[in-house]
Assembly symmetry: C2
Homo-oligomer: 204 residues x 2
């Protein structure tokens, strides 16, 4: 990657990717920037600008070749290099994320889930094992996992984060509404559902 | 509201709000922009700039008065006017969102969940009823609900959206990885989990 791509563009490119998936399922070969734009209610010059950032857009006389454009988004955004991650907290949200098959398409491989509830431990969800959280440090080392998706209840968020840090987890995708305190070499990405909701409803 | 606040600022303000909640729980009266900044690993000039957008920041000699700053964020972002919404799809994700008590704090009131699974209908989650989806149009009208949170499986996303549109739902918070086709008077907010993940991992 030579060009730096902004967060907003990454976000739009993944949505274009969803559209391309639908077109492939429908056996459609070509797509125009206008078609993408009208589905998203945005300007087609924006779509073209975004696509121009890709190394090979699959541009042709009638628009873009769906398969090539899809592949190009994948290459550019690095879907290809699969990243291993744990889900920590096998409640409803953790389960929902484990079932979210789209993750695999985007290069995120959920290795296992962790919980401390004896009733859940040993079970599986979407072919992934739910393990005792005490097994996490060892498996992180063995499987070289550095990403954890944190879906524990609010009350346990910080202490679980501390535990993850000790287990050499370097990236925490935080779904709890808690602002975590972590050392400088650990990155936290706050999945701020309420922030998203408020952006959405700000003008209602 | 006289000043237009950007999405990024709204997002940060809701995270500051989480921090203020923690401080209130810990009975701390004052907070400085430096303290907020260091928790989020951002510059404190940024924090001050964001807070300056609020009508009344609760600024005082030693920083900000936690309770006033919190209230000011709530007033500015409109947490006060409660919005009613339905969750459509009572799977793991729908359940997780129904249990997410933070929604209430931010002015989102989940009226009910809907599903078409006879085994789920009649049940409750977090004191909210799971109803037959056929009852949605009537309840939307009676309770004046215009927001739907869409958490059905990918395969049923578009047909459910069509059904919601017919029931006069005007805002769809879309958690499915499908780009929905809706009329112009309906707004869709795509909760693009994969886009967020890729922003996060783009540099790993």
């Amino acid at each position: 990657m030579d060009k730096k791509i902004s967060d907003k563009v990454i976000n739009r490119l993944t949505i274009y990717h969803c559209i391309l998936d639908d077109y492939i399922e429908g056996n459609v070969e070509f797509i125009s920037s206008k078609q993408i734009a009208s589905l998203l209610n945005i300007d087609d010059s924006q779509v073209r600008k975004d696509i121009n950032l890709l190394n090979n857009s699959g541009k042709c006389r009638v628009g873009y070749i769906v398969k090539e454009l899809k592949k190009s988004i994948e290459d550019t955004l690095g879907f290809a290099k699969t990243k291993n991650a744990f889900i920590v907290g096998a409640g409803n949200l953790g389960m929902a994320l484990a079932k979210y098959d789209n993750f695999t398409n985007y290069g995120l491989n959920i290795v296992a889930l962790f919980d401390n509830d004896k009733k859940k431990i040993g079970g599986t969800v979407n072919y992934k094992l739910i393990l005792d959280v005490s097994k996490l440090p060892n498996l992180a080392k063995k499987s070289n996992v550095e990403i954890a998706i944190l879906t524990v209840p609010k009350l346990y968020a910080q202490q679980t984060a501390d535990y993850l840090v000790k287990a050499d987890i370097k990236y925490i995708w935080n779904f709890t509404p808690v602002v975590l305190k972590v050392p400088n070499d650990v990155q936290v990405w706050n999945e701020n559902l309420m922030g998203n909701f408020l952006q959405f409803t700000y003008n209602i």
